[in-house]
């Protein structure tokens, strides 16, 4: 949105294709138009930022061609294939800025497909976009900064939070304290959430060894092994659980962008210059879709990418703004590096995935099927495993299972994560009616 706004300010009328009904993305997501305006209670500390971005979008309305409820399901050369409220359409472009964002990184554990288990992001969206909680007694599990935030938001809204479990160890956070100071305001907010949670008796328990959701038809309890190896259990009727974020880059893949393996993110990501350019001329990547940076970085990057687009169009750009954005982005990168190190990937939860665990929740395919494909068919590449097992072939197109499938395959083959590759993006990236495929 910041990119579109900056382009509009410079006299270029961008077309913004948004799958949502209203602008704001996921972090500053708005309730559907029919309801009352979102209250500040729904966004907490970020209320001012949410308001600012919603206002900026409204102000730019006349200069942005905004297309809500429109899915981009394919990028084909210089053309987007769309599913609009009025049916299938095509949209040619000469410049394409992809800002497809991120979603929760998901790891399977016993009971993770039971009704009542949602991602942490999902738990948060329920509250801020709808004003509802995912349950009455809620347990939260995470491995990233979203965990204390969601715990805070839930507790503040009067919802009973019965456990807050972090799969990473507390020591990693202390060790990165100086790096985290690079964004003092963000760090302060994080510490404030943790402190407020503690005042409410909501201590975050770090270093969780394993976890299991119990229940016959829906969530009834969460059991875990704590840092000292002791088994714990708490009755609850909902669980919000996910383990950091993953970049969502399927459209970048379809646009032909070159990907590189990011060892720290444990994910293949589309290559992006500091200015927001991809490896394909005329295709740009803004925000979390090429590397997780969070909402503040995404705003900066959106504006920076707009300047790159304007430069490439041969239009004048404000050099001072450009330099100040680059400085701000460099500072944020330092903070992000420390934050990522403070919340390392919880590899032990992948190691704990048993043979009978569902890896592909779309079609109920287990870890055993993946391991068999590796063992008996010698599959050592992820797309080969997909062909053999259908993992990554269901409705989610591997958005939920792709990363964990790669982790499991690398372990099964005894190879580096990088060597097992990544799921190739395939159109349509989301389900569409068959008529939409034949315009």
């Amino acid at each position: 949105m910041r990119c579109a706004e900056a382009l509009a300010r410079s006299g270029v009328t961008p077309i913004v294709v948004d799958e949502a009904e209203r602008p704001g993305g996921q972090v500053y997501r708005q309730p559907p138009a029919a309801s009352e305006p979102a209250s500040s209670a729904m966004y907490g500390f970020e209320a001012k930022k949410a308001e600012a971005i919603h206002r900026a979008i409204d102000a730019a309305r006349g200069r942005i061609d905004y297309r809500p409820r429109t899915l981009v399901w394919n990028v084909f050369g210089q053309r987007l294939d769309l599913l609009t409220p009025d049916g299938p359409r095509q949209q040619p472009f000469d410049r394409l800025v992809l800002a497809t964002g991120a979603m929760d990184r998901v790891l399977p554990f016993p009971g993770w497909t039971l009704p009542g288990v949602f991602t942490l992001g999902g738990a948060q969206i329920a509250l801020k976009a709808q004003g509802v909680a995912i349950g009455r007694r809620v347990a939260l599990v995470g491995a990233g900064p979203l965990l204390p935030l969601v715990a805070h938001q839930y507790a503040k809204s009067g919802i009973e939070v019965v456990a807050v479990l972090d799969a990473t160890v507390f020591g990693a956070k202390l060790a990165r304290f100086s790096g985290l100071c690079a964004s003092a305001a963000t760090l302060a907010k994080g510490l404030w959430y943790v402190a407020r949670n503690r005042l409410r008796g909501l201590d975050v328990r770090y270093g969780i060894g394993s976890l299991r959701v119990e229940g016959e038809h829906r969530v009834e309890a969460l059991a875990w092994r704590d840092a000292s190896g002791e088994e714990r259990r708490v009755a609850c009727d909902a669980v919000g659980a996910s383990f950091g974020l993953r970049a969502e880059a399927q459209l970048a893949d379809l646009a032909g962008c070159r990907f590189a393996f990011a060892a720290d993110a444990r994910q293949w990501l589309p290559e992006r210059t500091l200015q927001g350019r991809s490896s394909v001329a005329g295709v740009y990547l803004a925000g979390d879709c090429a590397r997780i940076g969070g909402a503040d970085v995404a705003e900066l990057q959106g504006r920076r990418t707009a300047l790159a687009v304007l430069e490439d169009l041969g239009r004048p750009v404000d050099r001072r703004e450009l330099a100040s954005l680059d400085r701000a982005l460099a500072r944020q990168a330092r903070f992000r590096g420390a934050l990522d190190a403070a919340y390392p990937f919880p590899a032990h939860l992948v190691d704990a995935i048993a043979d009978d665990e569902i890896v592909c929740r779309c079609e109920g395919i287990t870890a055993a099927a993946l391991r068999r494909a590796a063992r008996e068919h010698g599959a050592s590449e992820l797309n080969r495993v997909k062909a053999l097992t259908r993992i990554g072939m269901g409705r989610c197109q591997g958005r939920v299972c792709g990363e964990v499938a790669a982790e499991l395959l690398a372990r099964a083959c005894g190879s580096e994560l990088e060597r097992v590759g990544r799921l190739r993006g395939q159109p349509p990236v989301k389900p569409i009616p068959i008529v939409a495929g034949a315009p």
């Binding site: 009352e36 209670a41 009704p115 509250l127 709808q130 509802v132 909680a133 829906r218 409705r395 989610c396």
Partner: protein, 97 residues
């Protein structure tokens, strides 16, 4: 049957009547369909590849776990579809009780 969700912040909004497996229930204007259903029920659909039911997962239109059937023949993703008056949700086969 107790629903999964509970309202935490009152957004206001007029009542919207819909049915779930024929039973009349009320939602509010501005509710997404997943909200409207899970305030009253504990699942959205039966899982078609095995035992059990599903109730959505990511709430951001990525995981595709929350597709539901409507009486008029439409299939919609409940987390990105605003509730409309008169919607007839078919969970059919999801455990009653």
């Amino acid at each position: 049957m107790a629903g999964l969700f509970q309202r935490a912040i009152d957004r206001g909004g007029a009542a919207v009547a819909l049915t779930i497996d024929g039973e009349p229930v009320h939602a509010q204007r501005g509710d997404l369909l997943i909200t409207a259903i899970l305030l009253h029920r504990d699942s959205l659909r039966r899982f078609e590849f095995g035992a059990g039911s599903r109730a959505g997962f990511c709430l951001m239109a990525a995981c595709q776990d929350c597709w539901v059937r409507l009486g008029d023949g439409r299939r919609v993703r409940a987390c990105s579809t605003p509730v409309e008056p008169g919607m007839a949700v078919i969970i059919e086969g999801a455990r009653a009780g």
